[in-house]
Symmetry: C2
Subunit: 322 residues, 2 copies
Amino acid sequence: MRILVTGAAGMLGRKFCQRLAAVGRIADQAVESLTMADVVEPPAPVGAPFPIGLETGDLSQPDVAERLIADQPELIVHTAAVVSGEAEADLEKGYRINLLGSQYLFDAVRRAAFHPRLVFTSSMAVFGTPFPEKIGDEFLSAPLTSYGTQKAMAELMLADYTRRGFFDGIGIRLPTICVRPGKPNLAASGFFSNIIREPLNGQPAILPVPDTVRHWFASPRAAIGFLFRAAEIDTAKIGPRRNLTMPGLSVTIGEMIESLRRVAGEKPVRLIRREPDSAILRIVEGWAQNFDPVRARSLGFVAEKKFDEIIRAHIEDEGAGG
Amino acid sequence: MRILVTGAAGMLGRKFCQRLAAVGRIADQAVESLTMADVVEPPAPVGAPFPIGLETGDLSQPDVAERLIADQPELIVHTAAVVSGEAEADLEKGYRINLLGSQYLFDAVRRAAFHPRLVFTSSMAVFGTPFPEKIGDEFLSAPLTSYGTQKAMAELMLADYTRRGFFDGIGIRLPTICVRPGKPNLAASGFFSNIIREPLNGQPAILPVPDTVRHWFASPRAAIGFLFRAAEIDTAKIGPRRNLTMPGLSVTIGEMIESLRRVAGEKPVRLIRREPDSAILRIVEGWAQNFDPVRARSLGFVAEKKFDEIIRAHIEDEGAGG
């Protein structure tokens, strides 16, 4: 199978490619080749049993999508995006990259008429308050950020282009990914990962919201699992509603901290400094807290069931706190 | 108040302008000037107590939107669109006119920074099966046509641009407009109007679906009422979810025919010829049958309560069957 990954320098794209290199297979087929594309040159995983092409280019520029799909990949994993903070700060850039870039990719695939599987990483940001206690699969997308708006618009086009047979699309709405490795990016949700990652590495971390704040999480490992599942699933079972809220875990900050204590003891917990920030709290209060993703679960998408698993996955995958 | 109407040669745009010319006021203000714009020159209503400018131009071409908003209208009524049949038959044209044309208009308004009220005519086509018995205000947009997809995408952008303060937007999701005057357009829903309009004029009409088919209607008069209401409403009451399912009337074909019999007697009813068409039935079965538009009703949008009223409005407004 020939594969194209956009946003391959980003955390998810990179981890997906690393996993591909490690297992050499996806959707019951050997990987024949992998194209990793991003606006900066993506880091190729070492030791892959297949050739890897590295491409740099901005999907929102004409002809870049055409170049990236030149070898007609059977699987496209489209993760390229600017994050929520940046899409809010720079309106035109957000629409250009997140919406127009996706449109250019979808249209290039349509015109080339090779009908690949196309997996699109969407976000729980397509939802906006007020919410029911648990957001079900039939709840409206009424985003309250430009990022969520752009993802929701691309979702609609993905479903339409799938219905019309241009490609076989799946949009997967990711929970907040936690624990994110590395340094914080521009996402306003950064502190959720910081309060676990930094203390595990002996560093202090600031908690700007109360312990009662509830949120919806999956590990990077679970997210890569979603991508693999989306690549292999029998799409005839999905029907025309191709955008699926992924499973996740709904926990409070207090529960996260208890989990950190169970997994790593009292020492990291003491490194969490409570510095309430009403501006951040106001943003976080607009985010979904809990979902009932019946469809995705029935289609075989699996996330963690306890936050302890999320912390352990982080320690195992990143060698954190070791 | 200065007003711009796009799609002013279309049925709704034209009727809205006629009504403006007749009453001379909207949202408690005198109309100062009206710009009617479309891809063909729109027909100016006679006897308007304000100057009318006629503009031709395609909103999906660069700089057309800038020209249309040059006098910074306080109210923009954006009805320009290609209809569902055409958007399905010509994919690129549908996305170009219905999505890109709307985006160009929204962006031109954003850049000119004059913050008008912007009323956008959306459609019940933003919804797709399977449906609950009545579609509520929190039901997802999962359209099953490219037209519905384009309307849903424009809705999202309208809500985002409103949230960001670029304009004061309202999207109104129209029911199927019945009885449409004049000749059938490319909409697949044409027969709903044909079976009333043609017999009232002594002409035969073909009914391609069973009498049990249920659908969601409002008269052209009610639709124009929605536009006036959307222009005058205190938008602070709406909140960030700016796209509203309009009220309407849920009736079966059988009930429509009984209504025609009550209003106009047996003779027109005999002109309805039943010629089942399974292709049309399949399309119609994908359409919503009933809604529970609590929000729009509470915001003062009003539709007919009986189909007899819809037929009488048609006879009064169009001089049909007279």
